[in-house]
């Protein structure tokens, strides 16, 4: 009978510290889970007492990879609390910056973190020698995404110019034109990316679950909207707690979330399943070439859904720049901030790894008195563990090393971002 004992201490090529533990005796699964061992950082506790204009700059430091996502979500929470209305130009620039991060984060995950598994190497570095064109393409797309963020907000990791109500700095029209030309040129790189990922032998594994994301009728939702579930539920953002229902499990290291079932999934695949209609036509073409059409229930294809989103974000960036250039970049007066004798607000964005919520309470002077942040990776923890438990029996007959690799690939497919550790628990095991 099969005995398998796997203990992957610190899964590599993911953001933050997480372990896989598997114990199989005589073909019986005794233990099988993904644990989180990241040091808690306590952001929600220490933003209390800080002035409103600092919140997005502090909370962007939750995560270096999705710092634009945290900043934007933080600003939306603050702006809703303080009655700040955004101009059309600000909304367009925020969307453009957000697309930069979607491409940046997805190229990192798809090329740098996931692709090495399919080439049978430990990292992207050996590929520089064996698949130079692939690595140079990845570096080129990554640089393009970083430069797009820098054009709008000064830099990608911890954006500078994005502030409550608008931007402290505006890109030049010449800079936007140059960026548009580079984005158009990158269409060929996106095309090659789709070809590459369409050729990969994704592990076969289907497990349908509840898919949750933001939704907007008029566009593929990344910023604002309503919360939607593939099980047919819709909620305003302010009711996020009805969706996330955080709960503690004694054998886990993170707060988990569940809604209509025992678990749900957020991220690129959930957005793809819920918002396929709003994808750019070229992104739909990419999906067809990747063999994807909703409902996609193979979690490994979360990575493929990210490829589809990269195409969407590239195309929508080009359209947004066209709109900005047609309008002309305008110097604008910052909108008014109203303290209203104390108030609260919830911001939500679908950041690269899924739906992110920030919820703040401010006092009459605009000082934060309460904060709650619910990050995508936490919401995915229960679903990831359910997938691991459903997947393991299907591969138990494989050699132990192959089982370990496949489980690591499943964890990586979720693109977990453990550093976003505001809610992560470290639990004593008995």
């Amino acid at each position: 009978m099969t005995n398998v004992n796997i203990n992957v201490h610190y899964v590599t090529r993911v953001e933050g510290h997480g372990d896989i533990v598997v114990d199989v005796k005589n073909g019986q699964i005794k233990e099988c889970r993904f644990e989180v061992v990241e040091a808690p950082r306590f952001f929600e506790a220490f933003v209390r007492g800080r002035p409103y204009y600092e919140l997005s700059h502090i909370t962007s430091r939750i995560c270096g990879i999705c710092s634009v996502g945290h900043s934007t979500t933080s600003l939306r929470a603050t702006e809703k609390a303080l009655g700040v209305e955004l101009s059309e130009q600000t909304v367009l620039l925020r969307k453009l910056l957000f697309h930069g991060e979607i491409i940046d984060s997805h190229v990192l995950h798809t090329y740098y973190l996931v692709a090495p598994d399919f080439f049978g190497v430990n990292s992207v570095i050996p590929l520089a020698k064996t698949h130079t064109d692939v690595v140079l393409r990845a570096l080129k797309i990554k640089k393009l995404a970083g430069d797009l963020c820098a054009l709008v907000a000064g830099r990608h990791t911890h954006p500078i110019a994005m502030t409550v109500g608008g931007f402290t700095y505006l890109p030049s029209e010449a800079g936007l034109r140059e960026m548009k030309a580079r984005l158009e040129e990158a269409r060929a790189d996106m095309d090659a990316t789709v070809t590459l990922f369409a050729s990969l032998p994704w592990p076969q594994f289907e497990r349908e679950t509840e898919y949750i994301s933001l939704k907007k009728d008029e566009e593929y939702a990344f910023i604002d909207g309503v919360i939607t579930s593939s099980d047919g539920f819709t909620y305003p953002i302010e009711d996020y707690r009805k969706v996330t229902n955080e709960w503690c499990v004694p054998f886990s290291t993170a707060k988990w979330a569940r809604h209509n079932r025992d678990s749900y999934m957020v991220g690129a695949l959930a957005r793809f399943n819920n918002n396929f209609d709003q994808l750019h036509p070229r992104a739909k073409e990419a999906a067809a070439r990747l063999g994807m059409k909703p409902l996609v229930t193979n979690p490994f294809l979360n990575t493929a859904a990210q490829v589809v989103e990269m195409v969407h974000s590239l195309e929508d960036s080009i359209e947004i720049i066209d709109q900005l250039l047609t309008r002309g970049i305008q110097q604008e007066k910052p909108p008014a901030v109203k303290f209203n004798g104390g108030s609260e607000g919830v911001g939500a964005c679908d950041v690269p790894r899924g739906t992110l919520f920030h919820h703040y309470v401010y006092d009459e002077r605009g000082i934060c008195t309460q904060a709650n942040c619910i990050i995508p990776t936490n919401q995915n923890m229960a679903n990831l563990n359910a997938d691991i438990q459903a997947f393991l029996p299907l591969i138990l007959d494989r050699p132990q090393e192959e089982i370990r690799l496949l489980l690591e690939m499943l964890v990586r497919a979720y693109d977990p971002c453990i550093s976003c550790s505001t809610h992560f628990l470290k639990v004593q095991f008995v």
């Binding site: 090529r13 953001e15 220490f46 800080r50 430091r61 430990n122 500078i160």
Partner: protein, 254 residues
Amino acid sequence: MTSEPTARNNGKPKVAFFDFACCEGCQLTVVDALQTHLDLLDAVEIVQFREAISDRGEDYQIAFIEGSCTRKADEARLEKIRAQAAIVVALGACAHTAGVNALKNLHPLQDVRRWVYGDQAEWYDTYEARPISTVIEVDAVIPGCPIDREEFIGVVKALLLGRKPPIPDYPVCVECKLKENVCMFHVGKFCLGPVTRAGCGAICPTYNDGCEGCRGLIPNPNENAMKDVLSDAGLTVEEIMARFTMFNTYRVSK
């Protein structure tokens, strides 16, 4: 480099990256530095970099450490790295000054744990966030939140040549003047540029946002004069302290 070149690595120094409490944005900046400096991989052999590589080599001469020490268990891990590495480099604000992690030090620890984790507060092993230099000897520092890409390359080059890394000890104002930026105080904003270590190219003032002090203070800063300037600019004592504590709580509270 203290170790002898070996045939296995063709004399390339072996480099490892580690992280403690942080956002991993500085390691991401290292990955991004490869976009323009891919030849870096010809100069060093990376044996451990969990965020990007599956290898876990324990034989290394240079250790880059991102993140703050925030719990007793971190100390042993830091000491183990120190025992192995000939050169330890603090990578970014969290390792250098304890960064934003130290904001929790402004609150009673028990209160912080209860706020985030409620009834399970006792499960968390955590203490005041601190720079790694309070636990182990650090040979070089790359300041900033996040680090500056070019400065990282400059420090690596210096280390490979056996030179002292070129980290400025003059304030951000110098770089801001060279860029001919309008002073933040002249446009009604406030800025820690006069007391903050340069090296970032004054990137925040360049984007019309005042310096937040992420690179730590210059040697012998005149903090009282800085507070007077901020006060004259219309900040309340509370706001002045907020500015000073964002990245420098550990220093301010000592």
